[in-house]
């Protein structure tokens, strides 16, 4: 079994965006083009997050999911604004393999079990957006870190797993987009507390950060965004002109890297990885 490197694409349809601490979103380019590039480079999985869905209570990515699924044959997980089993069904029918839920699970925890029973645990990812508090606790938020839920992240993670979720996507909101490294304490606490895979997300700035999320904190998979997106903007013509400005402006802590260089660093750290793909279809 290998540790997955996942490309996370925050999308404000029709564009790929990236912010800092899930806020201040800037347009980087067309998500399908970035996704195609990552797939060719050997990324293990794609994660599409509708960055504005929770504000409008609907997922607007269906066209983008469908276009991606026509040409990319690797796993695709989709999150944002999925409130009912019907929303999940439509996302799966459009080409998603898994869905990620956050707000709907917080508002009605029974939704996790309902979705898992209908679509199978392995289809249901619960996203936890945690913010570290001055007292060292981690509390859960929704709506891009705006709404406090009153829940402790570790307690909630255990409840999520017991309810039948297949994976936890764990975002450290205070690290997101900063390149300062993952919140290793948060990841370690939750990875040890639940029997299901935990995906670390939020803060990757260097290959070493990606490795320590696994070797130090015990993450089962690592999701990265800026580190790949800025590399893609530099080495391809996939990005928009404003994306270059964004990179210069906001990502000082992030060292752009390719999928291959991240995987090489992981392999060097004795993390089992799927080798980069050479046999392109």
């Amino acid at each position: 079994m290998t540790v997955r490197l996942i490309a996370r694409l925050d999308i404000k349809a029709p564009n790929l965006v990236k912010g800092i601490q899930l806020e201040g979103l800037r347009v980087l380019g067309k998500p399908e083009l970035f996704a195609r590039h990552y797939s060719a480079e050997g990324i293990d999985e794609l994660f599409y997050q509708d960055a504005v869905a929770s504000l409008y209570e609907r997922n607007s990515l269906l066209d983008i999911i469908e276009r991606t699924s026509r040409e990319i044959f690797i796993p695709l997980c989709v999150g944002g604004g999925l409130r009912s089993v019907d929303d999940i069904r439509v996302a799966l029918q459009s080409g998603a393999d898994k869905v990620s839920i956050n707000t709907a699970a917080i508002n009605r925890p029974e939704f996790i079990a309902e979705a898992a029973n209908m679509f199978g645990s392995s289809t249901i990812v619960v996203a936890i957006e945690a913010i570290r508090q001055p007292d060292g606790r981690h509390l859960c938020f929704t709506d891009c870190g705006r709404e406090f839920t009153g829940r402790d992240a570790i307690t909630w993670a255990k409840q999520v797993a017991a309810s039948g979720a297949g994976e936890i996507l764990l975002t450290s909101v205070d690290r997101d987009g900063t390149g300062k490294g993952f919140d290793l304490e948060l990841i370690a606490a939750i990875a040890a507390a639940v029997p299901i895979p935990v995906i670390a997300h939020g803060g990757a700035g260097t290959p070493a950060h990606v490795c320590e999320a696994v070797t130090t904190a015990g993450a089962d998979a690592v999701a990265v965004a800026s580190i790949l997106h800025y590399h893609t903007i530099q080495v391809t013509d996939v990005g928009t002109s404003s994306s270059h400005a964004h990179y210069g402006h906001s990502a000082r802590g992030v060292q752009p890297n390719s999928v291959d260089s991240l995987k090489q660093a992981m392999a060097a750290a004795h993390i089992p990885v799927r080798p980069a793909v050479t046999d392109h279809d």
Binding site: M1, T2, V3, R4, S39, D44, E45, E66, S69, R70, F73, I74, P75, L76, R89, L92, Q93, S94, G95, A96, D97, K98, N117, M118, F119, G120, S121, S122, T123, G166, E167, P195, I196, P197, D220, A221, R274, P275, V277, D279, H280, D281
Partner: protein, 219 residues
């Protein structure tokens, strides 16, 4: 029919990502048809039984849509019949997912869950989610079947908590190791082949499997 491409029926019996299976079929020149119509299943050059979700729920759906007889006929017809993920598990006699449920019984054996407590220190979270290797079962060769041309120890994408235990060791086409446990990740019995992993999500390796299927259907 004006379109000469061979058709493949993707049985619409469970909630799952049928779209990407259909896309993979199209990519290799097959004409996919997502259907639960008995006539369409009988007419197709090959049949895929996909599925994600819970075993019991999927069997209920198969019964509610009167699909047992069409599936049995297709499996007995000699035409290629392919199970994917839950669609593989459904081919067996019974599963212990959320209680004990009877399956289609086209293959002998049962379906059990990974034991996450099995080996201390080994990565054995359940479900297994991610890329893992497949290798030929002892004494098996992939020449001439759907895994023809795939290098042993190739990585494919898995997403599951349960796995099959065929009664007939000869039915095991591929093995995979997870959490220190070696289990059957592909089966072949006559015209029936099935994969625990997702060929439609396994990149170039997965598309090579679909290409083998297309060759078999056109032959």
């Amino acid at each position: 029919m004006t379109d000469a491409r061979p058709t493949i029926a993707i049985i619409d019996c469970a909630h799952g990502n049928l779209f990407s299976i259909a896309q993979a079929c199209q990519r290799v020149g097959l004409e996919p048809l997502v259907t639960h119509d008995a006539g369409a299943i009988a007419d197709a050059g090959a049949v895929i039984l996909p599925g994600v979700g819970a075993f019991g729920t999927a069997m209920e759906e198969i019964r509610a849509r009167n699909l047992i007889a069409p599936i049995e006929k297709a499996a007995a017809s000699g035409r290629p019949f392919v199970g994917i993920c839950l669609g593989m598990q459904l081919l067996f006699e019974e599963s212990r997912e959320f209680g004990t449920h009877g399956g289609l019984g086209l293959l002998k054996g049962d379906v059990v869950r990974f034991d996450e407590t099995r080996e201390e220190g080994l990565r054995s979270k359940v479900p297994q989610v991610g890329w893992n290797r497949i290798r030929p079962s002892q004494g098996e060769t992939w020449t001439g079947n759907l895994l023809d041309g795939i290098a042993p120890d190739s990585y494919v994408y898995f997403l599951h908590s349960f796995y099959v235990r065929p009664s007939d060791p000869q039915a095991r086409l591929a093995l995979t190791t997870y959490g220190g446990e070696s289990y059957c990740s592909a089966v072949q019995h006559g015209n029936i082949a099935a994969f625990q992993f997702h060929p439609e999500r396994s990149g170039p390796i997965g598309l090579a499997i679909f290409r083998n299927l297309a060759k078999l259907v056109s032959a």
